[in-house]
């Protein structure tokens, strides 16, 4: 589902690249946690996957799409296949919960009727039924992040990328978000989650990839991981 082959990303002429010959393979329906300190290269890795950045060298193939052969005008089509959740939510502040989720569907040209059918189902999955008309400002951090997740999964992507989705949340809300991610993974979506919350890593018991100084320091299946 996700394949990185000796991917290097260097910014400008800095001596140490942000990512240094990283190779990673993620199977369909896998749940992978990427851990590492701030500045280790986690975010760079995700930005390469959403094609916000281009690698300096190396090969990236996601869902059968070879990024070397991806034209600029096809980037939107790639992004429609990948759901992304950000640490800072990136919700549209002047739109309601419903409209924020519907927005992802408007982009792909879905009719209003389809949108009215789809959005409530997804809000069900993230347990936000009844809050359709709220504005993002009226929600708690955890709720906002679940709106963002709803928006990311409403187009039923094969892959969901979550960049520190719990970074701004207290433990209780963080767990709500993680549970939703597990639920989505259970339905068959490949999930790539970055975090530096050790508690979540320990409790989730999933494959853990550790990045240090731009390189993969360890890649352990859940059975092996024991920090």
């Amino acid at each position: 589902m996700i394949l990185l082959d000796r991917v290097t990303k260097a910014y400008g002429k800095v001596a140490t690249p942000a990512l240094d010959r990283v190779s990673l393979h993620v199977e369909p329906k896998e749940f992978v946690i990427v851990v590492g300190q701030s500045g280790a290269g986690k975010t760079t890795l995700l930005r390469l996957l959403t094609r916000e950045e281009k690698p300096t060298s190396g090969k990236i193939i996601v869902g059968g799409i070879d990024y070397d052969k991806l034209k600029d005008k096809d980037i939107p089509l790639l992004r429609r296949k990948i759901g992304v959740v950000f640490q800072d939510f990136k919700l549209l502040p002047n739109r309601t919960v419903f409209e924020n989720v519907a927005f992802a569907l408007e982009i792909v040209g879905m009719s209003n009727r389809e949108i009215n059918n789809t959005v409530p189902k997804v809000l069900d999955i993230v347990n936000l039924r009844g809050k359709e008309k709220r504005m993002p400002m009226e929600l708690s951090g955890g709720e906002r992040q679940r709106v963002a997740i709803a928006r990311a999964i409403v187009r039923q992507p094969k892959i969901l990328i979550a960049d520190e989705p719990t970074g701004n949340l207290d433990p209780k809300h963080a767990w709500d978000v993680i549970k939703v991610l597990e639920k989505i993974n259970h339905y068959g979506t490949t999930v790539l989650l970055t975090t530096h919350n050790q508690d979540i890593v320990n409790k989730l018991k999933r494959r853990v990839v550790t990045i240090q100084h731009g390189q993969i320091a360890s890649d352990k299946a859940r059975a092996e991981y024991n920090a």
Partner: protein, 312 residues
């Protein structure tokens, strides 16, 4: 309904909503555009009017070729044919001696002593060919032709009044200058209005840059993001075009009622207004086309920078 059609409708709707929301910003952009388009329209009207004035004066001018009485019918016919074939000759009219006398009498109908004098003679007027030139600037060509020896044999005299030519030269010169000034003013104001619309859109983009980033991350296509801005500026263009036409209409109404003058110096106002109302739909269409072009071009350029994908 197809997805493309749904998206197209969404782009139009969003553009219209944004236009209403940005109304105050839009007014500045539209004001400059109205000025630009009014100058365009004004230049067209003045140039059409001046050309008409020149044509009218040109039409009244002819070159009179007086034939010798000794010229035979055959020689006369050859000359008529040759003159008619000259490139700068619009038409030739032949007046026989009798016709010339009739014309002289009717021209001087009020002057009894002149009429008495001519009646006492045996028609001293020569047969005359009236030559209308196409362009006054090139009237010399006709004179040169008549100066050739074979023509000179039967031509007694050629008369052409130069005072009108001076007037026409003046008008032609004024027209040229005005047209040039008009083109420069149109280009200059088009540029200014494009820059102002450009800035307006950049401001609108700046206000909504977070939204644009989010749209991009969610996989919105370039035209899904750019479309509403283009629609918004096309609305500027359409409204400005209509306002400019109404403005010129207002000017004519004011001129006809307040000035009660049919011309302002060289500018024949009544012709200008006739021309305007006769071609009002074509002119409006042209204004719309220019307005839409200026609007769309500036917003496409303004959004370009923000919609680029990182290619490093």
């Amino acid at each position: 309904m197809s997805r493309d059609l749904i998206t197209f409708r969404r782009i139009i709707t969003t553009g219209m909503v944004n236009f209403v929301r940005n109304a105050w910003l839009a007014i500045a952009a539209m004001a400059v555009m109205v000025v630009t388009l009014s100058i365009v329209l004004f230049s067209i009207l003045t140039s059409a009017t001046f050309n008409n004035t020149i044509a009218q004066i040109t039409d009244k001018i002819d070159v009179s070729v007086y034939l010798q009485d000794a010229a035979t019918d055959n020689e006369r016919d050859v000359l008529l044919r040759n003159l008619a074939n000259q490139p700068n000759v619009k038409s030739v009219t032949y007046l026989s001696k009798a016709d010339a006398l009739e014309r002289y009498k009717s021209q001087n109908a009020g002057n009894q002593s002149l009429l008495d004098a001519i009646n006492q003679t045996d028609n001293p007027l020569p047969a005359t060919i009236l030559v209308k030139p196409r362009e006054l600037q090139r009237v010399q060509e006709i004179k040169d032709f008549l100066n050739r020896p074979e023509e000179k044999k039967i031509v007694a005299d050629v008369s052409y009044r130069d005072d009108r030519k001076a007037a026409i030269d003046k008008i032609a010169h004024a027209t040229n200058t005005l047209q040039r000034a008009g083109v420069i003013a149109v280009l200059l104001f088009s540029l200014i209005s494009m820059l102002i619309i450009f800035n307006t859109i950049q401001m609108a983009i700046f206000n909504r840059r977070d939204e644009l980033t989010i749209m991009r991350l969610l996989g919105a296509s370039t035209w899904f993001i750019r479309g509403p801005f283009v629609v918004e500026t096309i609305i500027y263009g359409v409204l400005s075009a209509l306002i400019s036409v109404l403005l010129i209409h207002g000017l004519f109404v004011a001129a006809s009622s307040a000035l009660e003058a049919s011309s302002l110096g060289l500018l024949d106002i009544s012709y200008a207004s006739d021309y305007f109302y006769a071609n009002v739909w074509q002119l409006t269409g042209m204004q719309l086309a220019i307005g839409i072009f200026i609007g769309a071009a500036s917003s496409i350029i303004a959004t370009k920078r923000y919609l680029k994908f990182k290619s490093k």
